[in-house]
Symmetry: D2
Subunit: 357 residues, 4 copies
């Protein structure tokens, strides 16, 4: 092997740059091969936009959020958008360009990008995947994914900030965090930030239970409550709250979402002033935590190892303290949800956190 | 003087606890007098709820946000809410309780609380004011107010976080910050966080000018833009964007506000994906910055000095490096706005920041 | 069971308060039993100093470093210091007081405190252990211990800070971190902070190898280097660098230690200006990271569960995602060292980090 | 004017990059002139090493510590080091190269670099100065200098961290901070971080006074004390503590300095365990605070304005809210010391902080 390609796909996440840096360093120092980066995911492949990644190109990027290669959500080569609502299969062209430029490709991405990688692998492209999701909901064995630690750390910091306002004003403060299908960020940040109530998609909630908890706190002379809500949380028997869309966007703006609904209802039902904060994109950005930097670095090294060893069609994955490759076909058959019978959630209940059920 | 009273009024701000601590320490150590704190502003006075503030009561509160005394926005004794939409003048009762409990009162608060303090002073109450506003829009001479440094520092951190997402995804990212009548937080955080466009109430904007700036950046191959919008910013000839209210609340929830409007319009007009983040109450909370801790401490010491010296009817104020008392009658005749001809704003223009005009 | 006791022993660590809070909440809410806290470890037991831990006593302590119960390093009841260099066995007295006051005791501590707990258990005391060590070197199965994530996160932040000075001044900067017998903090912070050279007790180093690495960087036009040194690192064939002691202290002041030695030698051998920073106690303090807050909370819950179930003589331990009790006799038979053949260290080598061997 | 030069001299400080960025942006956008940067201060001038600073060269550097241009302490062209202990006057050569390359030069630096700038100005070089010192001890009128806010903010964070260890272990903790001739960092961080005792060069201390304070705290049942010591603090009648030098270095390693001495003495005199932490270079690094980013940006804009307007021989300076140029001859005639009769220090005394006098 002489030349390795790399691209980043889907939403940005803290740690992408750390993966890129590790790939480049490992390729050059350990294996003496070159690395080129395609810009803006598969879109950049199809437009043949790429850059040679030297060591100096990746110097200093370890602590930086985002991706120096750029990324996009609209780059599926099997269903490439050509006009409003029209798509074309440009996968052959994509494979051709990749084969022309590099001997193997590392795809760093989530659910969507790894599915594309799998389809390309089925068509014979030598590809290795590197899993990324800040929601922690990607089902890659037991693998941890980088970005999650940074995301819930920021949500925890937000709770720390909101705590003093809630307490000083005797208010209910609702924090809406990411998690459309799984409540990992809500559960972890809620535990770490001392939330009183945590609402997640896995456990439909009822307002009565929440109000019981708030009343219980009032009896203990605690006149404020902190509520963390995952954006996909819903009432028992209810639907996910429809969110408003910015015209032409495939990513709903998280306004008028579940956080606002919950705050409004709780104010109405308890008479206690309630406020909502929606974290939104703040959860995606910022310098990765040390934990995420290390995990991302390990994934970059392991993906390069796999590529050089010719073990294509796999995703790298950290299981406990060991890196284990998982076949791309096993990825993304569904979402990894919070284990509602798991020890973590039970611990949360034991210290009195209410899940609305 | 034997006993000093203190209360915190209006919205919470980082540094309130530092003021309280400084008052208590100065009163006890320097003057050998006692301090009691009324809970929840003037509401707590009328309900005669108070607590003796010993040194151990204020131990460890310097770095904490919020106020250990509690606060509220609904406590004007001259216009005290008794039922939905009905008010009573309970100022005499308020003065009586205060006189019964303490020899003088320090009121820590913003515009509203200091106006009340002024009216009480006119009725003969020995009162000293301590100014607070995180928007920096309180017109107390040239005085700086604590809380502002912390608020714009957090807005700057938010811009740092959003920067990598904007750049990786080639998006327009809009950050809505506090500032209904003055754009200090937007201007300062925009400058410190490297914003490309800053929209403030003092300078009505036109979308054409913003788009020119974005196009200009595209020509330089900068495919993303960061926009900071004060919540009170408005288009030339336009109105302030009406915000939705949570029923029964006097504080509008900042959803569907100017930030969302700007993001939506810019996406429509440029075709570039745009996202909005609304900081909201996150700006109020958190540990005060070292700057704010020192300023708050100085104000607490100075307010105690004034009270003990019998200089009532004044507000403490830091002018340059000196504490200067200002008469309560001079406070709050309007808002301190951003000086649009000032050197700071001119510097921002010289480095290419667009204000939409 | 009616009453549970808890104490914290040994050096303080971020997360101790989170454990205490979780114990109190679980005991009261889940089991309806009371908790009392002994002050200052076993010393406080012998002096019968304790406090009732209500929910309000642990309110707000989750994000705070240190321990509200106090701690000490000089409290072994089996070898209690009575005068300069003289000790007494006061274990019987200790057991008696504990039995008088509570039905079972949870000991939160490291190596030393857990050994004491084990000895007390052998004498029949109903005791449960909760492991703590910020060095991550406690050998409790595969268990993670809280405090470590916070410690290496701060060391990483320090490297981020030192990086710009090193680069601007073209210097060698040496950061000395904790780790007398194991290099976990050095390895993790070095990886996360982009160190070029990491020196740990497990791998004796030679200056020649380090200089080769520095020369290699110079050839790439990188005129600075970042070195992380664990305090127990040593040259091949060398001894651990003897550190000066503050008279009468059992804890060496980390001045004139290995960090300074390495900086001095590298400056002499390369002619490049070199500087050293010793992190010392800064690594112990501060608010625990969200990861550590969750881990500490889980440990607190699990320890309370064990105590209530009467499973005495065990230590709680997190293995993967599951809590598993480990017998106290299995703890502390030696130190958990960095696995020099492990995947983590190999990954570090592959991206070019030099370990001096 | 067609071309402006810029260099950074002396120790690095947070904000240098923000100045460089502001100069480049202002020069290009406002005045349409080019900027080149000399590398590594005047040393780089003499070696004719420079780089064209385009807008893309300064993109993204606002939040970064250090200087992209590099810097050095050994670059006085009037006394340029040619061999061990031998110097040459190379100022003519320096002026010639600068005149060849640019129409005017902006020197960003402290005491030393601004003195050189003054001497070069006297020889006719068109030069403008931009003041920098993280100690805040540069005597440029009433001017604030960037870097100071970041430095004392970090020292405050360190105190926050050490506080919990001090309290948990009932120890005296000593933090040694920068300040060889002036105690600004010690005073500000001590006030903001809740120190009990602050020792600065301007106020010689006696151990008796410190011990009185510690005893006083013990009586209040406060069994720990936080001491901040500026590196230049000294006992009444004593000398500055001689610090060990790394051979061949002009910058003493701050080990075995006053911090260690004070900790050792206090432990001996009180019998309370004492520990010391020396912050050292950590105070120089890291991302500048928002305050420093704004100040540095204003200075960069103002320096460019002066250069383009031909107002040479001046230093930019912020007085209150206005930029005022000060003549280079007025700079650096001594050190700006802490005003021991000033309102800030008096406020510190009133809340009970002990200065050892």
């Amino acid at each position: 092997m002489k030349r390795l390609g790399v691209l980043t796909g889907g939403g940005d996440a803290p740690g992408l740059n750390a993966v890129i840096r590790a790939i480049v360093k490992t390729a050059i120092r350990e294996y003496g091969i070159e690395v080129i980066g395609f810009r803006d995911g598969f879109k950049g492949v199809l437009e043949d936009r790429h850059v040679l990644l030297t060591e100096s190109a990746v110097s200093g990027i370890l602590p930086r959020g985002g991706t120096i290669l750029g990324t996009t959500n609209r780059d599926n080569p099997f269903k490439f958008p050509v006009a409003e609502g029209r798509f074309e299969d440009r996968s052959e062209e994509c494979i051709e360009i990749i084969r022309d430029r590099v001997d193997a490709l590392i795809v760093i991405g989530g659910d969507g990008s790894l599915s594309i990688a799998h389809e390309l692998a089925l068509k014979g492209l030598p590809v290795v995947g590197c899993p990324k999701t800040i929601d922690n909901d990607l089902a890659v064995g037991q693998a941890k994914t980088f970005g999650f630690d940074t995301a819930y750390a920021f949500a925890t910091e937000a709770l720390d900030r909101l705590h003093s306002t809630a307490e000083s004003h005797h208010r209910i403060i609702v924090l809406e965090v990411m998690g459309r299908y799984a409540g990992h960020i809500a559960l972890h940040s809620g535990l770490a930030g001392g939330a009183d109530i945590i609402l997640i998609p896995e456990i439909p909630f009822s307002y009565n239970k929440i109000i019981d908890k708030i009343q219980d706190r009032l009896k203990q002379n605690k006149r404020f409550s902190l509520v963390v809500v995952a954006e996909g949380a819903k009432e028992v028997g209810g639907e996910m709250v429809i969110q408003k869309m910015i015209a032409g966007s495939d990513d709903p703006v998280r306004l008028g979402g579940i956080g606002e609904t919950v705050a409004r209802q709780l104010e109405r039902l308890t008479g206690i002033e309630s406020r909502v904060t929606v974290l939104g994109h703040l959860q995606r950005g910022g310098s990765p935590t040390p934990y995420d930097r290390i995990l991302a670095t390990r994934y970059g090294v392991a993906a390069t190892d796999l590529a050089v060893q010719g073990q294509f069609g796999y995703v790298v994955s950290l299981d406990g303290e060991k890196i284990k490759p998982i076949h791309l076909s096993e990825v993304a058959h569904g979402i990894r949800k919070v284990d509602t019978e798991g020890e973590l959630l039970k611990a949360a209940r034991k210290i009195g956190i209410c899940f609305g059920d």
